[in-house]
Amino acid sequence: MTKEELTEYIKDNFSGEPEVIENDQPEPYFIVKAEDVVAFSRFIHDDPKLQMTFMMSLSGVDTGERYEIVYNICSYRLKHRVFFKTILNHEKPEVDTVLDIWPAANWYEREVWELFGITIRNHPNLTRFLLPEDWDEGFPMCKGWVGKDVIPFPERK
């Protein structure tokens, strides 16, 4: 399916009304509400015309005002991809795990939890694996984070 067909198909068949982001990329790009992430993932994974069985990547973003989690999903069998993201507020960033839909999400979600502090609900093993085990300085990938041992880059004159 082309980008336009994919966008129309997902919008017509998914009940949660995802918002479409217009861009020049060859893949459709949606914004999904945080409570719809699991339903949306289940839909694009199970639908026989989509068959998005492979998670390429899952990344966290901190824009300063809000958190985002970007999911890059593709289908090897039907050779198409879809990107979607969900927007979380800074006060209580929480999202449900998609681990039982794509097992590849396991370490990606642990990484997002560890470096951004976004709580992943129902994740079976939310433990540190990137930072030192005795780390207590917060979440280093967040905007404005300053660690006590970090040497800031000198200003260019």
Binding site: L130, L131, P132, E133, E137, P140, G147, D149, V150, I151, P152, F153, P154
Partner: protein
């Protein structure tokens, strides 16, 4: 043959006999310096240069250097690559597992002082000399194999200057 020819510098030959006398210190330091077994500790791109130096073109074997995969069999720890804060306790523990006398060579900018990760990095140790003593620093990013070879020769030179009393 090189060592045999140079032996009279350190040892005295008895006229008419096949015996040589030398000090135990000289013999010990000579044998130690000419057979530095090194511990493989490559964590980043410097490890590629370390492999190139160990392979046939530059050939560590001609210095008597053989890589060991266990710290308990090695004399020299070549730290080749970036050491993150998570890796730092591992380096320290492996260094402590090596039998004395033991020597450390810091290879490349990351192991010397953080390298390109000095500024704005939350995860990288700013030089391994913060956790273990370093004998020889080989700068470069990564250093050429010639530079690493020279660094290893410098370790040998340092060993020749030591006294046996230093090997506590």
């Amino acid at each position: 043959m090189g060592i045999i020819k140079k032996l009279p510098v350190y040892a005295e030959k008895i006229p008419g006999g096949g015996l040589v006398t030398t000090s135990l210190n000289s013999a010990f330091t000579l044998t130690q310096a000419k057979s530095l077994w090194y511990f493989l500790f490559g964590t980043a791109c410097c490890a590629i240069e370390l492999m190139a130096t160990g392979a046939s073109r530059y050939d560590f074997d001609r210095l008597g250097m053989i890589f060991r995969a266990s710290p308990r069999q090695s004399d020299l720890l070549i730290v080749a690559g970036t050491i993150t804060l998570k890796m730092a306790p591992v380096v320290k523990r492996l260094y402590e597992q090596m039998a004395e006398p033991r020597y450390v060579l810091a290879m490349g900018g990351c192991a010397i002082g953080g390298g390109p990760f000095y500024y704005d990095s939350y995860a990288v140790l700013k030089g391994i000399d913060k956790i273990i003593p370093v004998d020889v620093y080989v700068p470069g990013c990564p250093p050429r194999p010639e530079a690493l070879l020279q660094g290893c020769l410098e370790v040998g030179k340092k060993i020749r200057t030591l006294k046996m009393d230093d090997w506590s």
